[in-house]
Amino acid sequence: MTFLERTTDIRRLRHWEGTIEADYIYTSGIAGERFFVALREEGRILAARCSFCDLAYLPPKMFCERCFAELTDFVDVPKVGRVEAVTLSHVDRRGNRLARPEPWAFVTFKGIHGGLLHRLLVPPDKARPGLRVRPRVHPKDVRRGTIADIEGFEPATP
């Protein structure tokens, strides 16, 4: 279309391969540093509190996205949360079929704005919203100060 001539021999059409890849180092930032040091060193999970909006952000932010106050007040997130939504992923990160589906959950905590998206450490048929869960944190010696220091969320035994 629109050109005066067109190739009809498909063998003559070429393509060219390439990438736009590079390596990245992302700093956790001001609020993130506070969170990840507490996670790595003490296994604690912190939220950042906006006293104007009366919201405690998880993940913590350096600023309140609603009123733009700078947030410096950090509070502990309750030990036990609740599964708000669940999905079973039948494929891996690149779209390859998994032998067994992986449950993922969005977990909320009482009094906390937001929550955490993470793996749900239960058999696929047990993954359901409403579950009471708690984070399973890796042992201290292998914690590196990233969100992967939490292995996932497991059922909280009452």
Partner: protein, 383 residues
């Protein structure tokens, strides 16, 4: 001042287009739009806007590679890193300032150039909070679909109805890449992916380009007898963090619609809007968006879909084009495609998918995973 759409150009959407470079694809859509509008881009267009993201294109700075094929070399041109409707909104504003008389908005997808699509989408996740988890990025859609269906008590069968309708509508659209005779039970039996979403709930990528020519009222009337007016535009974003945004409801779409309705002076959208083209890149999104747009009451879109309310001859035809499920996911071109479809409908140029007697149409888009951003345009004909 009113702003009118005076030209529409589209390529066919296809799952791959090895015979076109991205430039050549854009050139075709532009040529068609300029022929439709009867304008010479080199002498009669004041501003050009492209909607693109670098990683969808495979370039460090895609803006460099835009001008030549749309007639924009040595002309005022810019990239809006957004959906085509964001581009349309910016063209609308440029014209409203009085500085620009005729503007061109372009958006395209050359998704078949991307060999690692999941990797590209994943790269949009928050680098600190989400990327290290190592899941497929569509988990985000699975979680949201779960939250939406649960909170609105929408039956999963509704998703099958959406998929079936849109794939079948696609059969009536010669541009559609994925038109197919899918019955409502088929999606529910397709392979599980990100429960509750199955293979057929997820629109497949497509290549395609769209160009719209937009003009001030004076220029629009000079250029054609039947311009389609942009009655209102709106765009908005919820929290970018997956964790602190609304999941069950599409708040970004609600806010964008509020803005567009305010400009369009629409008070009762469900009554005043004759047809809608809404983002359905995952089946549940069509329902979630209809509720956010005020075109269905909260929690009712799913049941209405089962009743056939949204079919081409239903009470509110939705995605008569086939939507993204039927036409293909054209990424940042999604909204511009929908606006182009509404224009064709309002002009009576929509062929066998023509909706009868439509005077006001709505186009809506979302910026796909992992965004919570979207835009709305309300278009109309007549006075």
């Amino acid at each position: 001042m009113r702003v009118g759409i005076v030209g529409v150009g589209m390529t066919a959407f296809r799952s791959s287009t090895p015979e076109y470079s991205w430039k050549e694809l854009m050139y075709e859509a532009a040529s068609r739009a300029y022929a439709d509008a009867g304008v010479d881009p080199r002498t009669q267009v004041d501003s050009f806007l492209t909607c693109a993201e670098d990683y969808y294109e495979g370039f460090g700075i895609f803006d460099e590679f835009v001008p030549d094929q749309i007639g924009a070399a040595l002309r005022p041109t810019c990239t809006v890193s957004g959906d085509g409707l964001h581009g349309l909104a910016n063209a609308f504003m440029q014209i409203q300032t009085g500085l620009i008389d005729v503007a061109v908005v372009e958006a395209h997808s050359k998704a078949s150039d991307i060999t690692t699509l999941a990797g590209v989408v994943e790269h949009g996740l928050d680098p600190i909070w989400n990327k290290p988890l190592g899941g497929h990025p569509y988990i985000v859609a699975g979680l949201e679909a779960d939250a939406y269906l649960r909170s609105t008590r929408t039956p999963a069968r509704s998703l099958g109805a959406v998929v079936s309708k849109n794939r079948r509508n696609g059969l009536r659209n010669p541009h559609a890449a994925y038109g197919a005779d899918v019955d409502p039970a088929q999606p529910l039996a397709s392979e599980e992916r990100f429960s509750p979403l199955r293979a057929l709930d997820i629109s497949a990528p497509a290549d395609g380009a769209i160009v719209l020519v937009v003009a001030s009222e004076r220029a629009a009337r000079r250029l054609r007898a039947d311009p389609v007016w942009i009655r209102g535009v709106g765009w908005a974003s919820d929290s970018p963090s997956l964790e602190t945004r609304d999941r069950a409801a599409a708040t970004y779409a609600r806010l964008a619609a509020q803005m567009a309705y305010r400009l369009a002076k629409i008070r009762a959208p469900a009554r005043e809007i004759d047809l809608a083209e809404v983002d359905d890149r995952f089946s549940y999104k069509e329902l979630q968006h209809l509720e956010a747009l005020g075109l269905a009451r909260a929690g009712e879109a799913g049941r209405r879909a089962l009743n056939g309310d949204f079919s081409i001859d239903g009470r509110l035809p939705v995605n008569a084009s086939g939507g993204s499920l039927g036409c293909g996911n054209v990424f940042e071109a999604t909204g511009l495609h929908r606006a182009a479809e509404v224009v064709l409908q309002l002009r009576g140029d929509a062929g066998s998918r023509q909706v009868d007697g439509a005077n006001v149409g709505l186009a809506q888009s979302w910026r796909f995973v992992p965004s919570a951003s979207g835009a709305v345009a309300v278009l109309g004909v007549g006075k």
